[in-house]
């Protein structure tokens, strides 16, 4: 043991293909684990359903952004050209919902795009520059060509020996414990 204090974070198994990971993920789910995650270099098609994830909630943020943008656009045109400083242009009404169409159309898209990006960050709990999973020596390979399943210590069904054996039995190439250093 090294001098650095650490605690167990999880058990990780690597796989060399999307197919192996996909099949293994199904078995992990069937076994009843709940606190686990797959790490893949690409978004693997159908893995969400295999892991039992529901549909992403990003669209809610997009909608909220879009609605905000629409009303912001309407509000600034009404406030500026009708309320605060009525501006006569060609003897036409100060405000109508038709003529500033491009303004609120663009603002709807702008705010919806911000909602989407920040919604994605929020749901992924990013930015977070430290994470125990980075301690895995092969973690970098999950962005390259390796696939990984990580079952956390917090999982109610977790038992280090049993989980390690289980991950080996579902085809994990190398199974090891990730330890999280603590101060």
């Amino acid at each position: 043991m090294s001098d650095i204090m650490d605690i167990k974070y999880a058990v990780a198994a690597t796989f060399s293909s999307a197919k192996d990971l996909f099949n293994a993920a199904g078995k992990v789910r069937e076994k009843g684990y709940t606190n686990w995650e797959c790490f893949t270099p690409i978004p693997v098609h159908g893995l969400d359903a295999q892991m039992g994830y529901p549909r992403s909630k990003v669209p809610r943020f997009t909608l909220a952004g879009g609605v905000t943008g629409f009303f912001t656009g309407m509000l600034i045109v009404w406030f500026m050209n009708e309320f605060d400083y009525p501006l006569i242009v060609g003897g036409k009404p100060y405000f109508s919902p038709i003529y500033p169409f491009p303004v609120f159309y663009e603002l709807t898209i702008l705010f919806a795009a911000f909602g989407t990006l920040f919604g994605m960050f929020f749901l992924n709990r990013l930015p977070r520059h430290n994470h125990p999973v980075f301690e895995h020596p092969d973690f970098g390979r999950t962005g390259d060509d390796k696939f990984m399943i990580v079952i956390e210590v917090d999982d109610p069904k977790f038992d280090e020996d049993e989980t390690t054996e289980f991950l080996k039995s579902v085809g994990g190439d190398s199974v090891q414990t990730i330890r999280e250093p603590i101060d």
């Binding site: 690409i42 978004p43 098609h45 990006l117």
Partner: protein
């Protein structure tokens, strides 16, 4: 009865010999994931090549022309440009529309082709999006400085100023402010979000400290977790869905700058679709101009294949033909509409004081891309590159024709005039190519020029249901 029919169908199926459908792979030579990662990251991680420095210094010198032109303009006044009365717009609007149009192909590739599930887009979308962002930056220079007193340009935005007057939202130029700034912002967001997983790969491979911090900062702690991918894919799809109506609206609103005016040759309803088609056409011209040398220099022939070049050529052909149709339809409507001013505007375009620009436009935009009907020509890469240059030239002249022929010859012969650019105009525009190249070279040097995760996900290994 139904059972019998089923057997008959099966027998027929046994007899017919379906034509084999040979699908061309998107990544050639059965490359592995590791190869893709090493190839793309290697470009960024290797020592800066000598050619890069030469190109970069040349581009900086060219960019300084814009700098000098603008300094001279601001210190002297907007009169140093060739703009006059009646041609108040001159090159400023021509260059603005030209650069904005260039950007449109990037968004088309990243957003519209994503929604249409065109998998070939993956290897060219990052560079095209970079092109979009940089082209919009170049475009912004011209209206910004054309306002004359550039230090008051912020009056265009709805911000309180000392005169207590707000912008006038009935003006197409005000719509432009919203359209172009939204377009620039959303393009940057989309470009950046797509780069997050690739930044994480570069972060994890980095050996130098500054790289760890630089890529680590922008990767935002991305972990390749499936939960991340799930939200990322949804966000990507939504941004594609938002960018599609955005890109169509931007050039529509740019065309309103002309179409809302009452001048003959401008006041037509064909302008929005015709401008959008032209923008995509010019953008694909620029994508080919940029990507063919990049592919040759970095040896990316397995990733940007002949299939990609073919597809880009065919989109150029299709949009070029649409633009040609629009030119013809404008003439037809000018005659059919029986408005003598409108009729004159078009006769004047083709045979009047700027006849030469009209025929440069027709030969570059309508005739040139027709060569892409031939497979032999699409496979001749140097020739494709030359045609793509012609497309760029032709589209610049299209905007010149639209802006200048109409302004120089409007209703009253007493207000007619002729416009020629000054040396300041020419320097300022010439320099924007340098400015664009500086940004593009920095992009090639420091950012992943292809979305690795997307390229990998169109390779056969990505399919969890196959035996690869």
């Amino acid at each position: 009865m139904s059972e019998v029919k089923e057997i008959e169908e099966h027998e027929i199926l046994k007899k017919i010999d379906p034509a084999p459908w040979k699908e061309v792979p998107l990544v050639l030579n059965n490359r592995s994931y590791k190869w893709v990662t090493d190839k793309i990251c290697g470009i960024v991680e290797s020592k800066t090549p000598t050619w890069w420095w030469w190109c970069f210094i040349t581009a900086l010198c060219v960019a300084s022309f814009t700098g000098m032109g603008l300094v001279y303009l601001v210190s002297t006044g907007v009169g140093v440009w060739g703009n006059n009365n009646p041609v108040n717009w001159g090159w400023a609007i021509v260059n603005f529309v030209f650069w904005i149009g260039i950007g449109h192909a990037g968004t088309l590739i990243s957003a519209v082709l994503c929604l249409l599930k065109q998998k070939w887009r993956t290897s060219i979308n990052r560079a095209s999006e970079a092109m979009t962002v940089f082209a919009v930056l170049c475009a912004g220079i011209f209206p910004l400085f054309h306002v004359g007193r550039v230090w008051f340009a912020w009056w265009l935005f709805p911000l309180p100023n000392s005169n207590a007057i707000w912008p006038q939202f009935r003006s197409p130029l005000e719509w432009d402010v919203f359209a172009v700034s939204t377009y620039a912002t959303v393009s940057i967001l989309f470009w950046y979000m797509g780069m997050i997983p690739d930044m994480a790969v570069l972060r994890d491979r980095a050996t130098q400290t500054w790289r760890k911090y630089f890529y680590g900062f922008f990767a935002m702690g991305w972990r390749n977790a499936n939960n991340h991918w799930r939200n990322f894919e949804m966000a990507y799809l939504l941004l594609a869905g938002l960018s599609t109506p955005l890109v169509l609206s931007v050039h529509t609103i740019v065309s309103f700058d002309f179409a809302v005016a009452n001048l003959p040759g401008w006041h037509t309803t064909i302008f929005p679709p015709y401008f959008v088609a032209g923008a995509i056409f010019s953008g694909f011209g620029m994508v080919l101009t940029l990507l063919l040398p990049v592919r040759a220099v970095f040896g990316l022939h397995d990733l940007v294949t002949q299939k990609h070049v073919d597809n880009m050529c065919m989109i150029t052909l299709a949009t070029g033909s649409l633009v040609g149709y629009a030119y013809a339809m404008e003439f037809f409507i000018a005659w059919y509409g029986a408005n003598s001013y409108e009729g004159f505007a078009f006769i004047n375009r083709a045979f009047g004081n700027y006849w030469w620009s009209y025929w440069i436009m027709i030969s570059c935009n309508v005739i040139c891309p027709q060569l892409f009907w031939f497979k032999k020509i699409r496979q001749n890469i140097p020739l494709v590159w030359i045609i793509s240059i012609f497309v760029n030239v032709g589209m610049w002249f299209e905007r010149f024709v639209i802006a200048n022929t109409t302004l120089s010859r409007d209703f009253l012969p007493s207000s007619w005039g002729y416009y020629s650019p000054t040396v300041v105009d020419i320097f300022t525009f010439f320099g924007t190519f340098g400015f664009f190249s500086v940004l593009f070279l920095l992009f090639l040097r420091f950012l992943p020029l292809m979305p690795m995760c997307e390229v990998k996900s169109v390779m056969p290994q990505a399919n969890p249901h196959s035996d690869h």
